[in-house]
Amino acid sequence: MTEVNLVQAVNLALARAMEEDDHVLVLGEDVGIDGGVFRATDGLLRRFGAERVLDTPLAEGAIAGLSVGLGAQGFRPVAEIQFTGFIYPIIDQLASHAARLRNRTRGRLTCPMVVRSPCGGGIRAVEHHSESPEAMFAHIPGLRVVIPSSPRRAYGLLLAAIRDPDPVVFLEPTRLYRAARGDVVDDGAADILGRCFVLREGGDVTLIAWGAMVVEALAAATALEAEGVGAEVIDVATLKPLDTETIVASIGKTGRCVIAHEAPLTGGFGGEIAGRIAEQALFSLLAPIERIAGYDTVIPLPRLEQLYFPDASRIADAARRAMAYR
């Protein structure tokens, strides 16, 4: 067992996957010689060679399209898009091709590709380098969408994503790359996709989050505990397919719910979760569902960033409102 940060855990998982399957290829901008801007692919070129670790030209659309072609031939490409702000050109390749290949060919072709990209804010990097487009991907049938919140999850979920027979969008919270540290056993054991993780149990209110917001939710839970409020924290981890069961079970227990995400409120994935709760747990609710999200505006400069992104205090305040509701 080694203590690593989140980006090192990603690196371990990539190396492990490449080690065990020579059909796993890593490609992207500066992933080879440079080892990735965040060093996620550090050392892979040296270890696995330039045939399997490809420095690509700056051409996101083709990086994704190429991966679809590779995937259709049984390879397992892991493409890195350097920042989620650069990911929009590949939505065409994902929505039009990767996500539909299985369906369009009635299962004769599949696309076991992974697109990795650092997501979210908190590194004072303004627009293009701070966004959270997970809901856009979750809206596309045929894609899985995964966001880890800790080194251990990053390792286990990325291995699962690479081994998965279908395309996975794997979004890595940039601000946790170095900030999140934890023990990882590099034994090749994958987590299961499509399952939420209950990180902390509590009986009064359920805090639902993913990525970097999980850390904020845990901090909020600690603050609430001091006030005698028991908060249950759920790390959604896989947005699609969504593990509604775990969420509904928790709401059945607590009756109150705060959903937190960095992406803007409108059309955010919190709305989907709220919808599921309304469908399946309406009569368990003791208070309206609270959503804490980014605002419906462009991500601002560093000085306003802390106002934009939800944090532990906003989450805790929402939980208090839910607790006070009569």
Partner: protein, 361 residues
């Protein structure tokens, strides 16, 4: 206006047939000759002006680097040090009707255009007096007054946007030309070629300036491009191209003059590949492991654009040390004042978080 001038007030793109003449046959392929001789007749005043403008960019960027290191500037930040001759030489060939668009390594462009150093710096520090009210940062500044259309963080983005700017100029039937800067890395983006086709098809007045600083972020052009003579990238669209020593401001000026004339006379786009070099990393967070210190030092000592002009001035006795010293001092004052202004300007109002998303929410 030339024959192929746009038909003003037409809502459709000019028909290609009426202007299907090849854009200067003589200028195709063969004319895509390498490095034209610097023929610009430059008076000493002109060269001094280049020296001053390049030095302003150099000193400004050095200061930006320091302030970034001190945590006064947030976000990603890409310095222009080493490439100064490109914008200064290009800008010298432009007139008040021309407009500019570029990518994220944009501080030098704004200074060369004549935008205020203090307001550029205030944007870098995220303050209210910055060109984007402290909301855009290093990569996203604009000035309608100076016809500077950004400042864009996405690799290759200026190319289609700039093509649209040039379309507007053509539609308005003025003399204006758009100068669209992008890098060697961006030249491998698909959107570049979609734009090239339209620009030549509709004979748009746009100069595509490829600032080939040899590295697409951390990947050398040789490792990222199937063909490295980027001035030839327009050949299949019949867009003429020139390869220029982008470290020599006079060579840049000469090439710019030719390109501006080409575009103004309605002949369509032209590509200028500027062979240049950035001394610093791709961004402030890039340790630049992908190249050797020797390589950087060799360019600095042998091809520095500012040293070249300085030597030319002194050896040609166009200026003496005292004159250059006076310029150095003037620049230093400007940069100090900009840095002070950028730290004194107030923070943006919290309410700014919700402004300018839509005209009205």
């Amino acid at each position: 206006m030339a024959k192929s001038a746009p038909r003003a007030k037409s809502t459709t793109p000019p028909k290609t047939k009426s202007q299907a003449k090849p854009p200067g046959k003589a200028l195709k392929s063969k004319t895509a000759a390498k490095v034209p001789a610097p023929t610009a007749v430059a008076t000493s005043d002109r060269i001094l002006r280049y020296y001053r403008d390049m030095l302003l960019i150099r000193r400004f960027e050095e200061r930006v680097g320091q302030m970034y290191g001190m945590g006064l500037i947030g976000g990603f930040c890409h310095l222009y040090i080493g490439q100064e001759a490109v914008v200064v030489g290009l800008q010298a060939a432009l007139g008040p009707e021309d407009q500019v668009i570029t990518g994220y390594r944009d501080h030098g462009h704004m200074l060369a255009i004549g935008m205020e150093p203090k307001r550029v710096m205030a944007e870098l520090t995220g303050r209210r007096d910055g060109y984007s009210k402290g909301k855009g940062g290093s990569m996203h500044m604009f000035s309608r007054a100076e016809r500077f259309f950004g400042g864009h963080g996405i690799v290759g983005a200026p190319v289609p946007l700039g093509t649209g700017l040039a379309f507007a100029q053509r539609y308005q039937a003025g003399r204006g030309v758009t100068v669209c800067y992008f890098g060697d890395g961006a030249s491998n983006q698909g959107q570049v070629y979609e734009s090239f086709n339209m620009a030549e098809l509709w004979k748009l007045p746009i100069i595509y300036v490829i600032e080939n600083n040899q590295y697409a972020m951390g990947t050398s052009v040789k490792r990222a491009s199937a063909t490295v003579d980027l001035y030839r990238r327009g050949e299949s669209f019949a867009i003429p191209g020139r390869q220029v020593d982008g470290m020599d401001v006079l060579a840049v000026r000469a090439a710019a003059d030719e390109a501006v004339e080409w575009c103004r006379s309605g002949k369509g786009p032209m590509i200028l590949e500027m062979k240049t070099y950035r001394y610093r990393g791709h961004s402030m967070s890039d340790p630049a492991k992908y190249r050797s210190r020797e390589e950087v030092n060799k360019v600095r000592t042998e091809h520095d654009p500012i040293d070249q002009v300085r030597n030319r001035l002194l050896e040609g006795k166009l200026a003496d040390e005292a004159r250059l010293k006076a310029i150095d001092n003037e620049i230093r004052e400007i940069v100090i004042a900009a840095a002070e202004f950028a730290q004194e300007s107030p923070e943006p109002d919290v309410a700014e978080l919700w402004t300018d998303v839509l005209e009205a929410i």
